[in-house]
Symmetry: C2
Subunit: 344 residues, 2 copies
DNA sequence: ACAATTAATGCAAGCGGTTGCACAACTGTC
DNA sequence: GACAGTTGTGCAACCGCTTGCATTAATTGT
């Protein structure tokens, strides 16, 4: 069937171990032999079987990437970046979609554990204890969650939420609604915590609506609630919900941003293409994907790395937030960016 | 480190082969022994190493999925459906992103070949001959491309393009532009072929603009060309380009659909959320993902399956196509769907 | 009661590689 | 010219698991 190391050995008249070394420790084999072996391998179309190699070396050169929902536009850029970064290091990526189901998450990690060098858990919904336990079975890097002792890459959404709320209170909004995300989301809790504190500091009321599914439907379906609550501004758990909400508000006859200002989180590609264009907290998803892979691969070296990498977020002001009910400032040009790094 | 079949054998006092059979051929082992072994396995947390098993059985229970660009919103629903379907059959999915690069495509297929039971090539850019050659090294199913002898799942975009052009000519458009897709895209050629024929039959001029990158930038950057060509309607290679184009047209001061009607292809989620909502040819991407996986898994049974599955498309009429320059009909309600199956 | 099945298990080879060790052929040293 | 040190290669065990075959015990038929 497939050409193996033995075929190459036979063709080049050396022992299989020499062929093996030609590929995995070239400096140990005589240059002449080496080139002969390589020529034969080339000619036969030999490709090492990584699974077989992994059996003895323990390194699979595979990485597992687990996300709650591939179709959520937040994830594809992260997956893409991770895949690309992984391939740079000659690794391949298993992708699994858990449908926001914590049980499935555990199952998939376990199923993948044996055939990967590590797993990237993106915005996991399962419990901290379970994650800690799993991390004893397979190297884990968590994205968008902080757990002591587990290496993590987190977007600083707390900071982003603060920028967003400050932006709103500065424009005079006093009744703000927060559309929270799915149950079990660390990000959602962070946002809530930060938004609440910031609103209080800005002398605004913050009413929390949720938990909601993190989709445009989740936003759409609470438009009525937002209007009923009398909010003049909304911060949504993510852009998808924000966009759904805008759709719902417009349908209900409210104007955005004249009647209600809306801010999303993530800055997915879509946000630039809707009308009105969405004001949002940009999270560096691609960078997170790359960083997570790097962290996972470094993980092997200094055993039990435990670093937490915080990625700055920034507020991108577009058209879904208006001058607001307060004292008016002159109209903004498009895409004003408030970087998180310099926020007071 | 990890618990193996030997540990279980030792713990339950049987030979490793009995443990093996307990998992892979339970009917061959005595119910009592079986339950004892299972208990021990459970207690030790044993999980079979699939890579090791694959080494001898030849079945990896993995599938490779290769796409041109994960971040293109067309793909995530397909990937998600494929992953879900694969997992139903206890398979895992490798995802690779080739950045629209044919060379990378080949490389990745080869790299993955040994550790998968087959590969799904989605909208590949490489040559037919290369695909035929690769299909001799690893079972292949191609999505959105037709090659004799290679099993395939294709969206009937020709039909979709016909529906779209007919829709336009029926509304009196006589100057239509076609934004073609990337070089090497089978889909793009199909669309062009069908659109050209349909336009001719409808006594309309069709000017082809492209090739273009299949992104919103690709659409945005040709807005000027479209206006200069004097087209009153445009069919774009995909929704992303259509949305980019609309953005460009609006920016240039043209109204959509009053001045220019725009139709996309794919019906990505985004199309329902932009303003104006996009009229588009809906392609059943999720169904394609599922079907492709099924086809690949069936492939093993009846060797060298060569089936081509055609998936119907339909025209979803939203707000980016207006009554047109011809005789006006009453305004449409939202989301009129013209199914491809019954098209004349 | 005895041969012939049948059922349950053990044995060992092997899947495609890697790697510690042994060994032979050189190299340089005094 | 004997000795230690290099260098290049072969040998064989092993990674975790499957599977054809042999072995033994239990069951069946006559």
């Amino acid at each position: 069937m497939s050409v193996t190391i033995r075929d190459v050995a036979r063709a080049s008249g050396v022992h299989i171990s020499t062929v093996s070394r030609t590929f995995s420790a070239p400096h140990l084999v005589n240059p002449n032999t080496r080139s002969r072996v390589l020529a034969c391998a080339e000619q036969l179309g030999y490709r090492p079987n990584r699974a077989a190699r992994a059996l003895i070396t323990g390194r699979t050169y595979n990485i597992g990437l687990i996300v709650a929902d591939i179709a959520n536009p937040f994830f594809p850029p992260l997956i893409k970046a991770a895949e690309s970064q992984a391939r740079k290091h000659d690794h391949h990526i298993f992708v699994a979609d858990t449908n926001e189901d914590p049980v499935l998450e555990e199952e998939v990690v376990r199923a993948l554990a044996k055939q990967v060098d590590g797993v990237l858990l993106c915005s996991p919904r399962m419990s901290n204890t379970l994650i800690e336990q799993l991390s004893r079975e397979v190297p884990l890097v968590v994205v968008n969650r902080q757990i002591t002792g587990i290496p993590a890459v987190v977007m600083d959404v707390a900071q982003g939420a603060r920028l967003a709320i400050e932006h709103l209170t500065a424009r005079g909004h006093r009744d703000i609604a927060l559309l929270s995300g799915p149950r079990g989301s660390w990000t959602s809790r962070e946002i809530r915590r930060s938004a609440t504190a910031t609103a209080r500091a800005g002398h605004a009321e913050l009413s929390v609506i949720g938990p909601n599914p993190p989709t445009e439907i989740g936003g759409l379906s609470v438009a009525e609630d937002v209007l009923r609550a009398g909010a003049t501004a909304v911060l949504a758990y993510n852009d998808l919900m924000a966009i759904g909400l805008i759709e719902g508000l417009l349908t209900a006859g409210a104007r955005v941003p004249e009647d209600v200002s809306v801010i999303g989180i993530d800055d997915i590609m879509l946000s630039r293409l809707t009308r009105p264009k969405l004001t949002t907290v940009a999270t560096p998803t691609a960078a997170a994907g790359r960083a997570a892979v790097d962290m996972l691969l470094a993980h092997g070296d200094d055993r039990r790395s435990t670093a937490h990498l915080h990625l700055q977020t920034e507020l991108v002001i577009r058209d879904s937030t208006g001058p607001g009910p307060g004292p008016h400032s002159p109209a903004d040009p498009g895409d004003v960016i408030v970087p998180g790094g310099v926020a007071s």
